[in-house]
Symmetry: C2
Subunit: 356 residues, 2 copies
Amino acid sequence: MPVTKSTKLKPERVGTRSGTRLPDRRQGVTLADVARLAEVSEITVSRILRNHGPAAPATRDRVLAAVRETGYVPNRLAGGLASSGSQLVGVIVPSLTNIVFPEVLGGIRAALDGSGFQAVIGVSDYDLVTEEELVASLLAWRPEAMVIAGFDHTPAARAMLEGSGVRIAEIMEIDSTPIDLAVGHSHFQAGFDTGQYLLGRGYRRFGYVGHDWIADRRARLRHDGLVAALAQAGLSLLASQRIEGPSSVAAGREQLAALLAQGPKLDVVVFSNDDMATGGVFHCMATGLVPPQDLALFGFNGLDIGQALPTPLSTMRSNRFLTGKTAIELLLAQRVRPSQPQVVDTGYEILPGATA
Amino acid sequence: MPVTKSTKLKPERVGTRSGTRLPDRRQGVTLADVARLAEVSEITVSRILRNHGPAAPATRDRVLAAVRETGYVPNRLAGGLASSGSQLVGVIVPSLTNIVFPEVLGGIRAALDGSGFQAVIGVSDYDLVTEEELVASLLAWRPEAMVIAGFDHTPAARAMLEGSGVRIAEIMEIDSTPIDLAVGHSHFQAGFDTGQYLLGRGYRRFGYVGHDWIADRRARLRHDGLVAALAQAGLSLLASQRIEGPSSVAAGREQLAALLAQGPKLDVVVFSNDDMATGGVFHCMATGLVPPQDLALFGFNGLDIGQALPTPLSTMRSNRFLTGKTAIELLLAQRVRPSQPQVVDTGYEILPGATA
DNA sequence: CGCTTCTATGTTAGCGCTGTCATAACGCGG
DNA sequence: CCGCGTTATGACAGCGCTAACATAGAAGCG
């Protein structure tokens, strides 16, 4: 009878029921297979592959040859489980089609490069419930750190993040107190500075074109900052126009047309971001308005597209790449949460451009 | 004595060496903790959480309450290892800053939505060696399927992909034979069709503005298709200009200027994509050229920005979202590789626009 | 030459979960 | 009231890997 005894490791592989799991197991090569071929123990193979602990050159060569011969690919599920360290960083952003988020991811990747860590990206679509699901789902991979855009989370999501014990960076804004670490800049202040800058340039008759405030809370903060700067000078917005959907060049174009149709004579229009402002520039081009003489335009973000326009867009450049990079660097440098939440300002700068 | 029985499972936890691993283990709640609190076995909790197998309503409630109370988050590393199924799909794209890739990812996410699967994204930066590393790294997570942009891989990467046994979709192009599945459209044909379309509109004096062919092989295929169409009509490109770097609006603007400075009188310029073509439109605006009368411009991709221009860009629209979505749907519908590689054409269409 | 100190490798015991095979309890028809 | 099919639950044995603790041999040293 082939019902031997099922002892030690896995003699049944062939014994009990002629390869019980072989048919469906496409997995194939494991550490044990490599070890057998190289005639060493599994742990030796493991150590050599991770450059961990000493190893005789001869053994190392034998093992590496066996790895190559078998086409062994380590199983990180097993590795992570055994070492309780997944080498994973969870990242949650609201969108990938708004170019600022891929840019942040670029910074994250740059900082992760060579660290052995891998980013797992979740996209929330500006939806807090989706975000909560993503938090749960990413936490289930036992990441070593987590990066999430913004401060707005459902109570459940916040509880999970806090309770997870992993380091958390909330990025893109610093206008609230973070759970652990915030990296970004103040959108309120950016809006305020925009107002002051434009007032300094002599503009007095302000209009505003924006997009969805519920989803994009940061756009709203910039608006509020702008309004505050105007109020301080005894002024207010003469006209304002906002769509419910996401920002886009087409929306900016339409909304500026709608804003101008409202009537009040304006000398400057501030847009919620560069996409919208670029649309505004297009509207001016199509209708023969020449910025900044006929109408000044101001954006936010410092996107390439705005700078490549025939008349470069006047805007504020934020440091998306730096934000992502800094967040990861700080997270990995200190693996336990500090007692006090930390805030890092990656700043912004005015790009004068030629539209305001 | 509170040392009741706690036996069976892991009595040494407290016995042998007073919590050997407890201090450093921030992990916290495990299935066992939930099971203990709900007074059932671990497997029962596991089954209930996965809706797998029968469960008495009372037990289910007790378990769910315990989960809530403890804040339990399942460990997918352990789950994946035990069930040899990670519920992961690996995705490798060359870039995130070129908007077409986030759009593909959007399709992938849409198809994955509700399936319980999660995408792990790698970005190769148009570098095949980086891509190879990503293949190894993603395969180590034992994904159930893999999506990768393009057909160009190092031999090692190809071997890993083939040997892994998982289903592979090579997306964005269909001009070569895939390992398993290809989803996208023919870039050569798109270029050819562009040529035919423009010839049909009466253009005869063609110029070309492009970007990095080594990294972006698909742009080159479109160029080759265009040249083939011209050759068939006894024509050829009168002038051509190309940068080594990635495409951008600014680059398109500069390169069109350089192209026109070359001398030959042109009546149409074909660009490697819409970013470049938008830059071309900007150059015309800045220099007073009015498309299409003074110079016709043609792009590729059908991006929003091109359509929002004062004169909408004439271009070809490809279906990035559909490509991503289709790839995942086909991959998940059939979990074993078909004997024959399969090719799915997601097509493209001409957007007449107003610049050609 | 006995003893410490490396260096190279192995043994053992899980990591936290799930597949598989029991087992218990409950109808229910004959 | 026996046997049988359900339904609900549990025991057990790993998944593939690695931390922690041996162990064995080779130096190093007074």
